[in-house]
Structures are given as C-alpha cells and as structure tokens.
C-alpha cells in the first residue's frame, strides 16, 4: 500500500471520528439527571472518547484492510454453505431438534429456570412460525402481529374468567376470534402496497392496545386481568390439595406433588402447539392457496393477470397467521395467569418480525435458530436488557445490509417451472 493511501485513509478515519464526536457528544456525553427540582447535567466524557476512539480505529482498520471485501466473501460463503448443509439435512435436523425438545425436560441439568426459558423460546418460535405465514410466505410485512396475540390472550382470559370454560374449549375460540380480527382488519387494508400495509398494521396494533388500556369495563384497563385459570391435564388439575370430588394430577398418577408437573405440562403444550403450526405451514405450502401466497410474494401483477384474486389470497394468509397468533396468546394467558396491556407493546411485534427476518423470511428452521439466538442467548444477559434491544435493532440493520435474505435464506419458491433454476 502506498503512503498516499495510508494518509488518505487516516484523514478519512479522522473525519469519522469527528462525526462520531458530534453523534455521541451531546447524547452520551451530557447525561441529564433529575435532582430535586429540575434537571442537571452529568458529563461522561470518558465513554464518549472511548466510543469515538473505537469508531476511528474501526474505520481506519477497514480502510487500511482493503481485504474488506474478501472478509465478507468468506462470511457469505460460510453462511451459504451452512444453509446448504441445513437444507440437505433438513429432515435429520428437524428430527434431532424435535427429539431433543421432547427429552429436554428430563435431562439432568434441566431445572425450573431452564424450563421457563425454554417455554418462552417455544412461544416465540410459535409466534415466529405464525407470522412466517404472513411475512415469509405471503410477503406481507405485518408490524402489528402482537394485536392478534393480544386478542387471543384477552379472549381466553375473558371467556375463562366469565364462563369458567376449560382451556380446551377456549383455545380454539381464541384462535377463531383472532382470525376474525385478522379478517376484519385485512379486508380493507390488504389492497394497499407493501410499505403502507406495514404502517397500517402497526396503527391497528396500537389501536388495540389503547382500547385495552381504556376500556375499563371489560379489560380492567392497565391493571389487567388476574386469576386466569390454569390449564388442567385432561380434567385433572395441577393442585396440591384439590377441591372435593376432584382428583388432581399427582394423586391420579400416584406421584409426589411438585410444581414442576405443571411446568412440564405447559412445556409440552406449547411444543405441540408450535409443531402443529409448523406442520400446517409445511402442508399448506403444497396446496393451491400456499402456492398462490408464494406467487403473490414474487409478483403481484403477474398473479392478477393469471386470475389469482390477490385480496382473498392475502386475506387467508392474514387470517391463518392471526389464528396461530391467537393460539399463542391464549397459551400465554394461561401460563402467566395474569395479562395486562403492558405485554402487548409495539416492541413485541418488532421482536417477532426480527425473528422472522433474521431467520430468513420463509425459512421454518431459520425461525427456530433466530428465536433460540435472540431470546435464549439474550436471556443469559438479562442485566443488559437495554443493550439487548440495541443489539436487536442493530442485527436487523446488519442483516438487511449484508444478507437481506436472512441467515438461512429460503425465499426460493417451493416449486419452479423449469427444474432447479436458481
């Protein structure tokens, strides 16, 4: 490398440093703190200089290292190899994964905490798979998916607390309600273009949340609904001392009472629900309607000219996606036994979208990996909650910039006309 180039890249990185100083200076460097009456400023110049230094160094290294392109090439070949491996061995991978998930509760190191995290991950996997129908297959960016999750959770909670019906009756009802809301919203808005649709679904999600907060008579406002009945094992409740005339789970099977029974049951419940979602998606992809979704995603105008009704086709995707969101919502309600509008903010929607996008839109395995990665690994660093969200957003940007089709790109249509044209 010539001397001129080095000087040039040095100048460039100094400019980067200047911009970084302007960015971090006021927001990071001058922290506003409330003290008594009014705000005061605590300077944090150390952090600013550290960040600016990192920016200069990073920029300089990138500049100096004209191997930059090579590096990314390595990264992308690695990941394409990885995705080809998983595609070849998709079946083995899936079977191993499911087997592992089935025996997971009985592994020696599994404790209560692991089980809770696993249930959370599975809930997100189910939500991711549900949203994958809408985003991955039909290509509709839905930023308000959490609304259907909320509808499912609230309909379960309200039906169960008012009528005292069991979980198994309420679950399909919650799904039906959520699907109904999906149609209600979808009918007018699905004619819109992709990016407008995203914003409208976001608005819808917020409307649902505001209604949940303000409609005291039904939803109990921000206080939420408490005392939602727990699910029972086909009529056998998980209670230490059951009511009269009732047999509880541990008595029936002659086991010693343990709260873990309920947790394990919940774990299998969400595992089965998630697998149903996955199975359904894999099957429907091979049916005419599934084919039509993928075709619409690729080219809407071509579909219209071939006689596919885009609104109806999108509507089915929307309603089915919403239904699975509703199922997941009622599971959430019965697991928590308490729900409030707090759990259904826009950030939840963003996390689910992030899972689908990072996994590779349309890839079922990708959703699993992204959920484990985003929810599981970040769960280990609970204390860094806010940094976790920065990493989330940053990952979304980076994936779009370097690998817009996701970690496991599986956007290729299920069938192609002329063999395996790439």
């Amino acid at each position: 490398m010539e001397k001129k180039d080095i000087i040039q890249s040095f100048k460039d990185s100094l400019f980067t440093g200047l911009i970084a100083l302007a960015l971090f200076g006021p927001i990071v460097g001058l922290r506003t703190v409330s003290k008594g009456e009014g705000l005061f400023i605590t300077p944090q110049w150390g952090v600013v200089f550290l960040l600016v230094g990192l920016c200069i160094l990073g920029r300089f290294l990138i500049n100096i290292n004209s191997a930059r392109r090579k590096e990314f090439k390595i990264f992308s070949t690695l990941s394409s190899k990885f995705s080809s491996i998983t595609e070849d061995k998709a079946k083995h991978f899936a079977i191993t994964g499911i087997l592992f998930a089935v025996v997971f509760p009985f592994l020696p190191f599994t404790d209560r905490y692991f089980m809770d995290v696993a249930i959370m991950i599975l809930t997100y996997i189910m939500l991711g798979w549900g949203l994958n129908i809408v985003v991955g297959l039909a290509g509709l960016l839905d930023l308000g998916y959490v609304a259907f999750y909320a509808v499912g959770a609230y309909s379960y909670a309200l039906i169960a607390t008012t009528f005292g019906w069991s979980f198994w009756i309420c679950l399909p009802l919650a799904g039906v309600f959520a699907a109904f809301f999906g149609i209600l919203l979808g009918f007018p808005v699905l004619r819109l273009r992709g990016d407008y649709l995203a914003i409208v679904t976001l608005g819808f999600g917020e409307i649902i949340r505001i209604i949940l907060i303000n409609w005291y008579e039904v939803t109990n406002g921000p206080d939420g609904i408490t005392g939602i009945p727990r699910p029972s094992f086909f009529g056998l409740p998980f209670k230490r001392s059951p009511d009269e005339g009732e047999t509880s789970f541990h008595l029936f099977f002659n086991l010693e009472y343990s709260t873990m029974h309920r947790i394990i049951f919940l774990y299998y419940l969400i595992l089965v629900l998630a697998l149903i979602t996955n199975y359904f998606t894999l099957k429907i992809r091979k049916l005419p309607v599934g084919r039509a979704w993928e075709a619409l995603r690729e080219d809407e105008i071509a579909c219209k000219s071939l006689g596919v009704n885009p609104t109806n086709t999108k509507l089915t995707a929307f309603a089915i996606g919403a239904m699975f969101g509703g199922f997941a919502g009622s599971f959430f309600a019965t697991r928590q036994a308490f729900i409030s509008p707090e759990s259904f903010t826009f950030i939840e929607s963003a996390i689910i979208v992030a899972i689908v996008v990072l996994g590779g839109m349309g890839s079922q395995t990708g959703v699993v990996l992204a959920s484990i990665f985003l929810i599981g690994i970040t769960e280990m660093f609970r204390d860094l909650e806010q940094f976790r969200m920065i990493a989330f957003g940053g990952a979304m940007v980076l994936i779009m910039v370097f690998k817009p089709k996701g970690i496991l790109a599986n956007r290729k249509p299920t069938i192609l006309m002329h063999g395996d044209k790439k």
């Binding site: 927001i27 290509g139 273009r193 990016d195 976001l202 806010q386 979304m396 779009m400 910039v401």
Partner: protein
Amino acid sequence: MEYFIQQLVNGITLGSIYGLIAIGYTMVYGIIGMINFAHGDIFMIGAFVALISFIIFGLTGVALPIILLLVLLIAMLFTACYGWTVEKLAYKPLRGSFRLAPLISALGMSIVLQNYVQVSQGARVKPMQPLFSGGLEFFKNSEFIVTVSYLQIFIVVLTIILMGIFTYLITKTDLGRAQRACEQDRTMTALLGINVDRTISITFIIGSSLASVAGMMFVLYYGVIDFYIGFLAGIKAFTAAVLGGIGSLPGAMLGGLLIGLIETFWAGYVSLEYKDVAAFSVLIVVLIFFPTGFLGKPDIEKV
C-alpha cells in the same frame, strides 16, 4: 365559540410541529421511495439535544432570544449529523434491494436509536422548566377566555419562517432543482452530472434539521420528553404526510395542520383517552380510501 377558537389555536400550534416532521417523511419518500421509519426517532434526538442545550445555556444567564437562536442552530447541526449517519449506514447500501428491505432496516434503526437514548440518557421522563410565560388574552368579558401564549406565537411564526426558507431552497436554488430532478429520474439526473448520493444525503440533512426544530418546539411546548416520544409523533407525522399526499411538500404542511387540528378537536370534544386512536384511524381511513392524499400524484403500478 370561545372554546372552539381556543382549540383552533392549540391545533394550529400542534399542527406546525407535525408539519415540520412530516416534511422529512415526504422528502425522503419523494426521492428514494421509502418510508423512513426512524424519522420519528430523529425528531426525538432533536428534542434531547435541544433539552440539553437549554439546560447548559440556562446556567449562563444569556438573554432568551439569543438562547433560542443558539439552541435552534445547535439542535439542527447535531441532529443533521444523525440523519446523515443513519442514511449512510442503514439505507444507502440497500438501494436496489427488495422493496421491504429498507423498511425493515429503518425499523431496526428506530429500535437502535430509541434504546441508545434510553441507555445513555435514562428511561425516566425529563421535565424542563418553562422558558416562556404569559400570552395574549381575547374575549376577556366572556365566560371562557381564549389565551394565545407567546410560546404558541413563537412556534407558529418560526414554522412560517422556516417554511419560507425551505420553499425558497427547493424552488429557487440549484440544490432544490437537483433534489427535484432526483425525485423524477435518478438515473437521468446522474447522467447529467449531478451527484445523486450527495443530493440524497442533503435531503436527509434537511429533513433531520426540520425534525430537530420540531423537537425543540416539542420540548418548549410540552415541557417534558422521554426516549419514546418519537414513536407516536413519528406515526402522526407520517399520517400527515400521507394525508397531504406523500411526496408533496406543501401537502406535508397541510396534512400536519389537519392532523394537529383533528387531534386537538377530538381530544377537546370527543374523548381525551382515545386521542391517539383518532390519529391512527385517520391514517387507516386515508390510506384505504384516499391513498394519494390531497396534493399527491396518483401512483401508477409498472411492470
């Protein structure tokens, strides 16, 4: 009647703020055809920069007009840096990617900016002591006295001045001509020797500066901000941009005024709790029945 006039005044003030943010949406949409989802958070950062500078200058004891001018310039400068960087990092590499890619990237950027401010400035709301006091009073002998505060006058006048400068910039200068040319045909503009990348960067800089002015007004008007204000304000400003016809600059201002008025009247006459629902419903209704807005050009689908 007096109550109506009071609401009208409040609505116009609020509308000015929304209008200034909406310009950023509409300009970016016009030139690269994407919804800059992170624009609301740029506005929030503008509000924070303004708040921090108000605190610093508040300690020096300089006269109020000078403080206002300095804070205005500082907020514009620093926020423009954010707009510029966001474009360079998150949007520029995505030109030519599939349609939803920039939107997802912008969503990620918005999450990053929100949490970045939350980490560095804390999650609590930040109150500021009011700088302005007093105002003009009308209808003194009726039951309801209509007050137009000096702050409201300041906001509306500043908006009008900025709009004047901005219109001049877009219609009369080389920069504005380049900007409008890029909107019409980017490839052709590049062939004619105009630096398209630079023009797009400048678009982001102008949009962010105007959003930062809106941020400063927000701090002064409401006296309290937090890291989350960008989300709602951003959605409402986007609604304004769509209502006025996305891509049309006078439309953005008109839409901003309308959204401000709708929100204020809804809060005043219908229901305070559901005032945000009003904005979202307007957004949905407008997009469904009226997607080109008032002053927008119809959108032709091309194969």
